[in-house]
Structures are given as C-alpha cells and as structure tokens.
C-alpha cells in the first residue's frame, strides 16, 4: 500500500475525508441558499431564474457539479463505512448507558441525521434536479424551476417533509461544522470561539432560510 492510500484508509484519514467533503458540502449550501433566496424578491421568479439559468448552463459550474455529486457520494459512502467499523468496534453492547452525561444527543446521532438528510435528498432531487437535468439532456431546454416550486409546494405534506429535512440538516450541521475543523486538527483557544459561533449561526440561519422557501410559497407570501 502506498503512503497515500495508507493515510486515507487509516482511522484519521477516513475522518479527514469525512471532514473535507463535509466542508465542501457546507460551501455548496451557501451557494444553494443564496441563489434560492432570490425567490424572496417576489418578482415572479425573474432574479431566481436568471441565476438558476447561470448555474444550469455555465460550463465551469456544470463541471463543479460533477465534483458536488462525488462529494455527496464520498461523504455518504465514507460515513457508512465508518459507522460499520464503529459498530463492530463494540460487538457486545452495554446494558445501561448514560451517554447524556458526557455528550450531546446530536453528536452521537450523526449517522441517523445523515440518513434522514439522505432520504430528504432523494425526494428533493427527484422534485427538481433530476427532472431538470434529464430534460436538458433530452431536449437541451431547461425546465421552469420557479413554476415547479410554486406547484410542488402547494402540497402540505411536501412542505412538512422539506421542513423536517431542514431540521435534520440543522442538527447535523450543529455538530458537523465544528467537528470538521477538529478532525483537521484545527482546535485551538485562538479560534475555537469563532468556529463555534459561526457554526451555530450557520446551522440556524441556512436551514431556516431553506425551510422558509416552501413555507412562504405554501402560505402565498411568495407567488
């Protein structure tokens, strides 16, 4: 095994991959939330569609999109691998555990929260990304994503699923954001407070912004 494979398949290496892909996905959330928030201009989707068109057709963005899909797949696969290894590291479970005395529930539930986000992601991409890209491949034409949002978010159950997806994301980020830095060795009194504050703010603001989109459309605030 080369030094590189050895490093990446070691316990720390697998965590570093988890951390780097996680931070990459966090950077994607910033772009995704910013562009989707254009719907709040309430201009009939003009600004949103302008940027949506840019993201859907720009060759650099389209190339980066391959990286994004890979980022998701690696984060999920590595997470499943680590979870399996971690479970087998304790073949006989404790009869009694008082884990709340030493750690937060969400830090211990990253696999569960990640699975909930994955289920949401399957629903979400089958609503927008998959039909849109399929149509682009088939006809070269983009779909009217704004109109699709207005239609899809008329269903209360869809809105509830999206809000639950955002809640899972918020808890996942609340641990994941700061955890990613610790794994990279970035844990120091000089900047721990900054990472914690930014992490908490990010975990609240971004999922809230996302959740407000289906809610606003359902309630007719955005039309």
């Amino acid at each position: 095994m080369s030094w590189f494979t050895q490093a990446l398949t070691s316990s720390i290496g697998k965590k570093v991959i988890m951390s780097l892909t996680g931070l990459f996905l966090i950077s994607f959330l910033v772009i995704h939330a910013s562009i989707n928030a254009m719907i709040f201009y309430n201009d009939g989707g003009e600004t949103f569609s302008h940027w949506g068109h840019f993201m859907g057709t720009n060759p650099i963005i389209r190339t980066l999109e391959i990286g994004l899909v890979l980022g998701f797949l690696i984060h999920i696969a590595d997470g499943l691998w680590l979870t399996k290894l971690n479970q087998s590291a304790r073949p006989v479970k404790y009869a009694v555990t008082n884990a709340s005395a030493n750690s937060t529930w969400y830090s211990r539930s990253m696999g569960l929260l990640g699975t909930l986000i994955l289920i949401f992601l399957v629903i979400h991409t089958s609503h927008f990304w998959i039909p849109n890209r399929s149509n682009q491949f088939a006809t070269g034409e983009e779909l009217n994503l704004y109109q699709m949002m207005l239609d899809i978010f008329q269903n209360i159950w869809v809105v509830i699923i999206y809000v639950l997806g955002c809640i899972s994301l918020a808890w996942h980020l609340l641990h994941g954001f700061k955890s990613a830095f610790k794994t990279l060795g970035l844990y120091h009194v000089k900047y721990n407070d900054a990472i914690r504050v930014i992490g908490v703010a990010f975990s609240i603001i971004v999922p809230t912004l996302f959740a407000l989109m289906p809610i606003s459309i359902y309630l007719g605030w955005v039309y």
């Binding site: 070691s10 971690n86 304790r90 073949p91 008082n98 884990a99 030493n102 211990r108 844990y187 120091h188």
Partner: protein, 255 residues
Amino acid sequence: MSAGNMRLTLKVWRQSNTDTKGGFENYNLDGVSPDMSFLEMFDILNEQLIEENKEPVAFDHDCREGICGSCSMFINGQPHGPLKGVTTCQLHMRSFQDGDTITVEPWRAGAFPVIKDLVVDRDGFDRIISAGGFVSVNTGNAQDANSLPIPKENADEAFSAAACIACGACVAACKNASAMLFVSAKISQLALLPQGQAERSIRAEKMVAQMDAEGFGNCTNTHACSAECPKEISFENIARMNREYIGAKSSSKVL
C-alpha cells in the same frame, strides 16, 4: 470503616472466561457505609459470596488511590460511575442512594476482550505504546535538571497529557470504542518536549497504525472521552494527534 445502613441491589456482569457467554447476576447487599469506596463495597460483596460458597466477582484493582488505572468498571452507564474526574476506587458510596440498583459492567470493546467478569484485557494499549510511545535514548544517569531548558507552559501542557493512566475509560465511554484520547495523550506528551522531536513523525504514524490494527473505533468528536476521563485529559490532544499524523504522513521519510 464504620458499618453503614445502605441497602443496595447490584446487577453485576458475570462471565467465566473470554470464550463463554456472560450474563447479569443480581446481588442484595446490606449494611453498606456511605464512606466506603466502590471497591470496598465490592470487597464486602465478595466476602458475602465466599461465605455462601459462591465464586467471588473478579475485578481489576491495584493502588486504590486513583493513579494506577486498573479499576475498570462501567457503573450505571458511565465509566468509573457518576462522579467526574475520578477512578472507581475514588468513587464513594455516598454518590448513591439507599435502595439503589447499581448496574456494573466491564469495559465493552472488541479490542478489550473480557478475561473474567469485570476484568478486561487491555494489552492493546501496551502494544500501541510499544509501537512508538517512547524516546530511544540511553538512560544512564539522570541528567542535570536544567540542561535542557523548557518553558513552563510547554512543560505543563506535556505533563497534563502525561497524566493519562491508560485506564481505558475513554474507550469505554466512546460510542465508537475509539482509543484516540489515550493515543493522542501519549503522542502529545512526547511531541511537546524536545526529547520527543527526533522520532516525532514515525511515532505518530506507528502508534496510529497500531491503534487501527487493534480494532478500536474512529473518533466522532463527541467529547465523551474527555468528559469521562479520570485525569481530565483535554480533547485538544486529539486535534494535536490529527495534526501530527497528517503532517507525518505528508512529510516523513517513511514511504
């Protein structure tokens, strides 16, 4: 030790050896003093079992003053019980209420197989130390104390890491049975001092490789290890180990 009046129900894990299946046994214990240590309470239990011609409970203990790290007991869902910053021998029965049911289990980890009852095999830790947790120097006579000046802050930080007694509570507490707090403390205590510099890279690489080979889990940064550590080893050590390992892998002479 004054005779006490606490009545307890103990639910203790019994297992005759590594290869047999274990299970819980319930024992009633009367006359427990709140001033007894948890291990003294177990001594009373074992005397009672011997009088009844039953097999006493096997448990690890040595110094009984909180520094040897032998007394591995998972008490009511926490390593070394509910009190922070102590080992089982330093836990007293006043931390419990009269009439309590106390569940006592061994450390649970694939890398710590049960030898008997509450005794587990922690040789994995020794093998990790043998892999690189040392400095290769001829000992000879002790050096003059000030021949190698070290700033107090550095000495303090190294000493805090060196306070690790290898008890294994970090592994027991971690939801993933990860040994990273232990390994990182051992890597840190040497990485922070000039004596540890020559073997710094190879040490991080070898100790992490041995930790992985032993089958310990992977850290998910929950901080449970640090919260349960009887010596309150800082979580900062794990971040330092990550830096040491990433740095070693990308720059060491080992191919």
